[in-house]
Each structure stands twice: as structure tokens, then as C-alpha cells.
């Protein structure tokens, strides 16, 4: 599905990714984890073509993404911080994205699911963080693409919306889609993900299932397993 080879990226003097090799197969939920500044967002943005790598190759669905934009029809992306043009209304934003990407009717169902009807005529600048995140989720899930990338999807969500999000992710997984998630909420990751990829200092430190990670680190639970990786490497 996604294949990354020998990826390097530097921002100024700051080497963020140093030789990432990663293959993500079709179907299933993959969590990209790592401490702050380990390059998770940079990795995801490289796959999306928003960050141009210094070296290395990325292919999505078998096509090299360099200088290409049409492959993004196959990706639904949820950005980390929902920054939208603040003078647009929610309704207008949804309409615009549909106009740019193609026709869908899923948006109506999702708007109902997240109870966004009262906000449709409000400007995005006036919405709270959690409501913005819900709009963000609607925009991401309204298209039926085989690859879904979620960057910190739980930010600002209330417990009910969180449950709805988890259901939504499971429904998409059941359709055979590949879902890539980054999150700092370990319980969320443990609950939803099939496999995890752990990034440390710009490299892949671990890739496998959660139980494999527990055995590797000799820790009884997931949160401590992650913590032990971090203490072992920073002590």
C-alpha cells in the first residue's frame, strides 16, 4: 500500500528523518508512535507530498509519488491541528472540498453522526477546538479512499464523539481499508491499532504488533512498554 525507502529529511540543521524504511500492507490499522519531535508528522506529510524529502523514495499503491498529485485521490487525510480559513462557513467549506475532490453524499450522514447541523451556517473561526475537529473528521471520512491517514484524531473530542470516531474507524477497517494513525493517547492506540510503528530520532525503532512489543521490552502492559523504550534510549 505504502512503501517508503531510505527517507531523509532535514529542516535547516535539524535532521528529522534519517533513513526511514517502511512497508505498510493493505488492510488494517497502523499506529505511528514516537516522542515529540521524532518525525511522525514529517513522515506523514512526506507521504502526502506536503513535505519534500531530501532523499529517498515513497510509493503509494505502487506509484512513485514524486511530482504527482493524482495519487492523493486515494488518500483521506486528517491534519493535526484543524486550521481552516476562518471566514468560511462550515457548509461552504464542505461544499468547496466536494467541488475540488468529487461528488459524495457521505457528508450528510457524517454531519448527522457528529451532530454538526447547528454549526453549518457558522463561520469556522467562531467554532471551538472540538467542533473544528469534528468538521475535520467529516471532511476526512466523507470520501471513500483506500488509504486513510489520521494525525492526532482524538484532539479535543468529547467522550461521545470519541466513541463515534472509534466506531467509524472500525467500519472503515471492515471495508478493507488501510488506516494510518498517530496519537499520544496510548489507550486509544492500544484499543484500535493492529500494528505499531515506533519512530525514534528519525528512524524506525520497532515495527510489529503490540504483544510483540511487550515481549521485546519485557513489560506487562503497553504504556510501560513504550515508556521503557523511551527511558532506555534517553537515560
Amino acid at each position: 500500500m505504502v512503501s517508503i525507502q531510505n527517507l531523509y529529511k532535514k529542516f535547516g540543521k535539524n535532521q528529522v528523518l534519517s533513513g526511514v524504511d517502511l512497508d505498510i500492507n493493505s488492510g488494517g490499522i497502523f499506529a505511528v508512535l514516537g516522542p515529540n519531535g521524532s518525525g511522525k508528522t514529517t513522515l506523514i506529510k512526506s507521504v502526502l507530498g506536503m513535505v519534500i524529502p531530501n532523499k529517498g523514495e515513497i510509493s503509494v499503491l505502487g506509484n512513485n509519488i514524486k511530482n504527482s498529485s493524482n495519487y492523493r485521490y486515494k488518500i483521506d487525510y486528517l491534519p493535526q491541528i484543524a486550521n481552516f480559513p476562518s471566514n468560511l462557513k462550515v457548509k461552504e467549506l464542505v461544499k468547496m472540498i466536494k467541488d475540488l475532490r468529487g461528488y459524495t453524499t457521505e457528508d450528510l450522514r457524517l454531519i448527522e453522526l457528529f451532530k454538526l447541523e447547528p454549526f453549518l451556517n457558522k463561520k469556522l473561526g467562531t467554532l471551538s477546538g472540538g467542533t473544528k475537529q469534528k468538521v475535520n473528521l467529516v471532511l476526512t471520512f466523507m470520501f471513500n479512499s483506500p488509504l486513510i491517514i489520521l494525525d492526532e484524531p482524538t484532539t479535543g473530542l468529547d467522550p461521545i464523539s470519541l466513541i463515534r470516531l472509534k466506531d467509524l474507524i472500525q467500519v472503515e477497517k471492515a471495508k478493507g481499508k488501510t488506516i494510518l494513525i498517530t496519537s499520544h493517547i496510548m489507550s486509544f492506540v492500544e484499543e484500535v491499532s493492529d500494528e505499531i510503528v515506533f519512530l525514534l530520532e528519525g528512524k524506525i525503532y520497532f515495527k510489529g504488533t503490540i504483544s510483540e512489543l511487550k515481549t521485546k521490552t519485557n513489560q506487562p502492559d503497553f504504556e510501560h512498554a513504550i515508556a521503557s523504550i523511551l527511558t532506555d534510549n534517553h537515560a
Binding site: 502526502l48 513535505v51 486550521n83 480559513p85 475540488l100
Partner: protein, 260 residues
């Protein structure tokens, strides 16, 4: 690209600043016409305003729009759109809405005053054409500055400096060179010097079209000889087009390499 252009354009059309800009030109046009009561004099006064103001507004507006639409740009970048169409669409959206404010704002009072029955219509059209060119040029330069500078304050600083240089400092340096080397033949140098600055080029074009080159003395005669001919006119317009194309190419080139 057309879709991006459409959204940028309508976004700007809804913003207060487009109306302020439009209203300013409308007012300027009306005041000039009814105080002067003379179309060709009004055109000269307008030229002096346009030559300085259009580049300034184009630069500031371009930089401001680019920084303000950062979120919009990031949203678009994740969509299946080419980078060149995103940025060219935004650029054209800004440049066209500014040009429209200029053309409508100045055009309307002149049309009502009876422009079509007068023979200054060509002078006036030339004024609007160069005004549009200046908008296209300076908005493109502003986008270049904004693309190369993440820091807003720096971006604004460079933009103002660029305007100051081309609108004022360049002329000063140019004049000093002419004074310093007055013993040498300077016809070619002054012609080239004029060509290299879009503001000077526009001013010379309009002045000579208005047939007041006699006021310019000897240099005026040389300029008239060059710019007055259709060859000179074509070369001047080619230069203006080059001034648009080069910065636009750099926008496309820079946008392809930038990280977001």
C-alpha cells in the same frame, strides 16, 4: 487551477479591502474629473497616483493574502491538486481582483463623464493597461517574497523595501548616475535603465503617449524617438510581460520545493 482561482477571487471579493480599494479609485476618479473638468489633465494626475500606489497596494496585498491564507493553502495541499495550480490560482485570484477594483473604480466615473466621446480614450486605456500590468508584476513579486520568507515581519519588511527601491530609490540612483556621467553619451544607458524598472517603464510609456515629451528636453527627444515608435511600444510591452513572467515562473519553481 480555475477552481482555486474562483475560490480565491470570491474570497477576496467578500473582503472589506477590495471594496475600500475600489471605493478609493471611484472617489479619486470622480474628484479629479469634477475638479479638473479636463479629461487629459485628469489622466496625467491619475498617472502619478497609479504609478506609485498600484505597486504599493499590489505588494502589500499580495504578501498579506499569502500569509493570511496559510490555512487554506495547507488544506488544498492535501487535496489531489497540483502545487503549481494552487499557487498560480491564488496569485491570479489576488491580481485579478485588484485589477478589477482598479479598472472598475477608475473606469466607471470616466465612462459617465463621457470618455467614449473623447479622444483621450487611448491615453486612458493605456493607463489602465499599465496599471493592470503593474498589479500583475508587483503581486507576483510579493508572492515570491512571501514564499521565500516564513517570517511574516521579514516578509512585510522586504516587500516594503522592494516597493521603496523600485518606486523611489531606483530613480535617485538613476539620476545620480546621469549627473555623474554627464560627459558621456547616456542615451542607451538611460533607455536600458528605464526598461529595467517596471515603474519607470510605465511612467515613460504614459508620458510619451500623452505627448508632453517636449517638457522632457533632450532626453525626451531620444525617448520619443524610441518609445514613440511602434517598435519602442512593442519592446516596452514585451519588457512588461517579461516582468510578469519571470516572477510567476519563480513562484511555480519555489512552490514545488517548499515544505508545508
Amino acid at each position: 487551477m480555475l477552481k482555486i482561482l474562483k475560490y480565491s477571487f470570491f474570497d477576496l471579493m467578500r473582503s472589506r479591502w477590495s471594496y475600500v480599494y475600489f471605493a478609493f479609485y471611484l472617489l479619486l476618479g470622480i474628484v479629479l474629473l469634477f475638479l479638473n473638468n479636463d479629461l487629459s489633465k485628469a489622466v496625467i494626475t491619475l498617472m502619478n497616483v497609479i504609478i506609485v500606489l498600484v505597486p504599493l497596494i499590489g505588494t502589500i496585498f499580495g504578501v498579506m493574502y499569502f500569509y493570511n491564507s496559510k490555512e487554506f493553502t495547507e488544506l488544498l495541499l492535501a487535496q489531489p491538486l497540483k502545487r503549481s495550480s494552487i499557487f498560480l490560482g491564488q496569485y491570479l485570484g489576488v491580481a485579478l481582483s485588484l485589477s478589477m477594483s482598479l479598472i472598475l473604480g477608475l473606469g466607471l466615473p470616466f465612462v459617465f463623464y463621457g470618455l467614449f466621446k473623447s479622444n483621450t480614450i487611448w491615453d486612458f486605456s493605456l493607463l489602465l493597461i499599465t496599471g493592470t500590468f503593474l498589479t500583475l508584476i508587483f503581486t507576483a513579486l510579493a508572492f515570491n517574497i512571501a514564499l521565500s520568507n516564513e517570517n511574516k515581519i521579514k516578509g512585510f519588511g522586504y516587500a516594503i523595501l522592494l516597493w521603496l527601491f523600485l518606486a523611489i530609490i531606483y530613480d535617485g540612483i538613476f539620476l545620480m548616475t546621469l549627473v555623474l556621467f554627464e560627459d558621456y553619451p547616456l542615451d542607451k544607458l538611460s533607455l536600458i535603465g528605464t526598461m529595467l524598472n517596471p515603474i519607470d517603464l510605465s511612467r515613460t510609456l504614459i508620458l510619451l503617449k500623452l505627448d508632453i515629451s517636449a517638457l522632457l528636453g533632450y532626453t525626451g527627444a531620444i525617448f520619443k524617438q524610441f518609445f514613440g515608435t511602434s517598435f519602442g511600444l512593442i519592446i516596452s510591452f514585451i519588457m512588461l510581460i517579461v516582468w510578469v513572467v519571470l516572477p510567476v515562473l519563480r513562484i511555480v519553481f519555489k512552490a514545488k520545493k517548499k515544505d508545508f
